[in-house]
């Protein structure tokens, strides 16, 4: 992509994808990579947000919301996803929860040399759990968000979207 604007992931487009896929609740912990998205969701009166104190709890609440008939999304950072390992296993996978985890990919650099172990282990971690994941770097990748939702619904499993916008968060 040569056009500079196409290299950016627009919060509005991500938000629109979430709405199109029926998200009702956002369970989140602050994340430097996706804070821009959080601010947009906070302004949306149709979305119910609940903050947690550790990311494993986001998995627990999402499991409860889903069991109760809502459609949550989890918004966390890759560091927190790794902290949540047993909650992903026991709750999201163990209870067959069809949920999308939108995960800020801290340390991601498309072309540069990785200097952040958070990035080093992110995809290895997801692969260890056998979860499907999609990398979303720019607006051109946004349709992958809907693919992730459909896959979660079809498989009754958690699916990860790695928000790998290297111009936000720690890499800004």
């Amino acid at each position: 992509m040569s056009d500079a604007s196409s290299n950016v992931l627009s919060p509005d487009i991500v938000h629109r994808e979430m709405k199109q896929n029926g998200v009702t609740d956002v369970v989140w912990l602050p994340d430097s990579e996706t804070n821009w998205l959080y601010l947009l969701m906070k302004a949306d009166p149709d979305l119910r947000l609940v903050g947690v104190s550790r990311e494993g709890h986001a998995c627990s609440i999402a499991a409860g919301l889903s069991a109760g008939g809502r459609k949550p999304i989890i918004l966390i950072q890759n560091t927190g996803m790794m902290e949540s390992g047993d909650s992903i296993r026991g709750w999201l996978m163990g209870l067959d929860i069809p949920v999308v985890l939108m995960v800020g990919y801290r340390g991601y650099t498309r072309h540069g040399v990785n200097k952040d172990t958070a990035a080093t282990y992110t995809e290895r971690f997801i692969n260890a759990f056998g979860l499907q994941y999609y990398l979303v770097e720019s607006d051109a990748d946004a349709p992958r968000i809907s693919i992730a939702f459909k896959e979660a619904d079809r498989t009754k499993r958690p699916v990860v979207i790695l928000v790998a916008d290297e111009f936000h968060g720690f890499n800004r």
Binding site: G51, H57, S60, I61, G68, P72, G90, W91, G94, L95
Partner: protein, 198 residues
């Protein structure tokens, strides 16, 4: 410090107060065996696939089902693993949630090792209160069981009630062990089969 209450009798007494609008969730280990022993119904959600999340799963259900009363039965070991739950629940409160901690001061499933509540130094109801939970209580005697039922079923939430129970080695009364099955059964019961399958 373990109190004098017998957990199985306590849970049996507690479930007498339920109706179809009462959803009961139990955390890993003894709370699951206690609830199953008291009577298995589809409105029971035994969440024993991992540890530390019962209160938060119950909270999620409570947010999704505001017209139902949601009661979480958990233990001191599990609650100590997830104390941040109190702060999250207090900051985004729901009126239909009660968390009952069956506190025997032990990790019952792993050999009865003492937990941090066993010495009396750590007070889970106090932590819940300091976190901003609207109503908290500690129950130690049989004469307070009626109060516990009132807290669990009637008092506007969020409620955290700690029941000091004895450390007892009791027979396991295991529910089904498929998390997916238990969740689907629970969803069918509260949403109806058609909506549950969406």
């Amino acid at each position: 410090m373990s109190g004098g209450l017998h957990r199985r009798d306590l849970v049996k007494e507690l479930v007498k107060g339920r109706d179809k609008n009462t959803l009961m969730l139990s955390g890993l280990g003894s709370p699951c065996w206690d609830l199953n022993n008291a009577g298995d119904v589809p409105e029971n959600f035994y969440i024993w696939g991992a540890m530390g999340g019962a209160a938060m799963i119950g909270y999620g259900v409570a947010r999704a089902q505001p017209d139902k009363r949601v009661i979480v039965l958990t233990g001191d070991g599990e609650m100590l693993m997830g104390m941040g739950a109190f702060a999250s629940i207090a900051n985004f409160p729901v009126r239909n949630l009660a968390i009952v901690v069956l506190d025997n001061g032990r990790f019952g499933e792993t050999g009865g090792q003492k937990t941090h509540t066993s010495t009396g130094v750590t007070d889970l109801a106090g932590i819940a209160k300091a976190s901003g939970i609207a109503t908290t209580a500690t129950i130690t005697q049989e004469s307070e069981i009626a109060k516990l039922k009132e807290l669990a079923f009637k008092t506007p939430g969020p409620v955290v009630a700690v029941a000091k129970v004895q450390y007892e080695k009791l027979k396991f009364v295991l529910p089904a062990n498929s998390g997916g099955y238990l969740k689907d059964r629970f969803r069918n019961a509260i949403l109806g089969v058609d909506r549950a399958q969406m």
